[in-house]
Amino acid sequence: MNKRFLTGTVIVLGLLLSGCSTKADALAEAEAATDTAVVEPSPTSVPEAGECLACHTDKQRLIDTAKPEEEGGEAESKGVG
């Protein structure tokens, strides 16, 4: 009976230790994966704006495409504001 008990205990402990080892390895792998994800910037996270700058740095293009401005809200005002 003692022999059976000892054998059983060894098997159970072995399984438990094996389980812990697997879990620890998995956590380490997950953390490593998470670290990697934070450090590496996503290549698509920053929106491109080349067309914006192409126009807004080109004086002539801005002149050509500008809409006539409407009269200001208080253009009919008289006197000092």
Partner: protein, 425 residues
């Protein structure tokens, strides 16, 4: 300030801007829109003024300033509402009309972070300062005096014909932020401490923060020794010169264009010393320069009848801090410039009849007499220290407790003016 051309308002200096912290962001990160050549499609859903949502676009880096912004007078415009509500009498039924008026005419002065730090205020047409480069210190004439121009700006820069600009600008080339520091302009994150008017709370900046020798009486100037105690006169009484006042502003909406507009009846220059209508521990001065503000009983009549039913609750000649400080002024040239000179004081004859009641606590009824009178005046006994200053006639009319009865020549003096001559030891 000359308005910018439409293209000029939105031209980006990418070479310079890209070297700055804000230049590390792409256009779309702050302004939205789409990266496409077609203008209309590119601008669809674009955010022209990201800082109108400072908690979304500015707070990540400028946490303290964004926390203060909701309470800043540049955002709340609380000073307007303090005056409007007081003159209205806080009548809830009038608020729809007053709100409409405010939104049409006053709210245009509301200021975002960007309107001080990257572009000219919308109120003066907008437009980037320097190719979208953010300026930690707003450029004075394109930001501060673009809005605060018709009075403060013109006075400070010497743009009023024949009147010299402020010595701090003229001689020392100081800009607004030299005195009005960022923390003052940004306000406080504590809503309980938020200002309801630009003159509420402690006087900040204060002249003696830099000119401490005046208050201590150690500069050897006789007039400072007499008046520099900070109790009787604000510094501007002696050191500012003629400034602008306005009358009769009326607001309405144009029948032809549908745009709101205003019209002021008169603009003129004056220099009048009045009684301080907001005398307090923070601003104890008895006399201050006073400026006429353009409010009239009918200013808002386009929006409704009797919207200013409590008109007399506030003066129309208000505490002023003219920004045209000079070392030498007509009034500090001699004692007689003020003493015995009714011309320099806001007396009742200079106030419109309809505004007499509103200005009762500003009008000067008794002109300070000749200096000889002051020098000959008997000082108060030492045991008068604990007496109320306004209680002199209680004893000195009837001779109670053997008090000397004041002479007939004093009959026109007001009760609160005794200590002006009869100083405590």
């Amino acid at each position: 300030m000359a308005p910018l051309e439409p293209w000029e308002k939105v031209l980006v200096d990418h070479e310079t801007f890209s070297q700055t912290d804000h230049g590390e962001l792409t256009c779309i990160q702050c302004h939205g829109g789409t990266n496409i050549a077609d203008k209309d499609q590119a601008h669809a859903d674009m955010i022209a003024s990201p800082s109108s949502q400072p908690d979304v676009y500015c707070a990540e880096c400028h946490e303290a300033e964004v926390a203060a912004y909701p309470n800043s007078l540049h955002n709340t415009q609380a000073g307007y509402w303090t005056a409007i509500n007081t003159r209205n009498g806080n009548i809830p039924e009038d608020h729809p009309e007053l709100n409409q008026m405010f939104n049409n005419h006053c709210a245009t002065c509301h200021t975002t972070c960007g309107e001080c730090h990257v572009s000219q205020p919308e109120n003066v047409g907008g437009g980037l300062f320097t190719g979208h480069v953010f300026e930690k210190t707003p450029p004075m004439t394109r930001s501060c005096t673009a809005c605060h121009g018709s009075r403060v700006g013109n006075e400070f820069l010497g743009k009023n014909e024949g009147i010299t600009g402020d010595v701090h600008f003229r001689e020392a080339r100081m800009s607004c932020v030299k005195c009005h520091e960022g923390a003052d302009l940004h306000g406080t994150a504590d809503a309980a401490l938020a200002s309801d008017h630009r003159l509420s709370g402690a006087e900040d900046p204060k002249c003696i923060d830099c000119h401490a020798e005046v208050a201590s009486g150690t500069d050897g100037i006789d007039m400072h020794a007499q008046h520099g105690d900070g109790e009787e006169l604000s510094c501007q009484v002696c050191h500012s010169v003629t400034y602008t006042s306005c009358d009769g502003c009326h607001v309405a909406v144009s029948e032809t264009s549908g745009n709101p507009f205003f019209e002021t009846e008169a603009t003129y220059t004056t220099f009048f010393i009045g009684r301080n209508p907001i005398q307090s521990e923070d601003r104890p001065y008895k006399y201050v320069p006073v400026r006429h503000v353009p409010v009239a009983t009918t200013s808002y009549e386009y929006y409704g009848e009797n919207l200013l039913t409590n008109f007399d609750a506030l003066p129309t000649w208000v505490y002023a801090t003219p920004h045209n400080i000079q070392r030498f002024t007509p009034q500090n040239a001699s004692c007689e410039s003020c003493h015995g000179n009714a011309e320099i004081f806001l007396t009742a004859d200079k106030v419109q009849a309809v505004e007499l009641s509103a200005n009762q606590n500003v009008i000067v009824n008794t002109i300070p007499g000749p200096v000889d009178l002051y020098l000959a005046a008997m000082p108060q006994p030492a045991d008068h220290t604990n007496l109320l200053t306004d209680s002199c006639i209680s004893c000195h009319t009837e001779g109670i407790r053997n008090a000397p009865i004041f002479p007939e020549t004093h009959i026109e003096f007001s009760n609160d003016s005794c200590s002006g001559c009869h100083k405590l030891p």
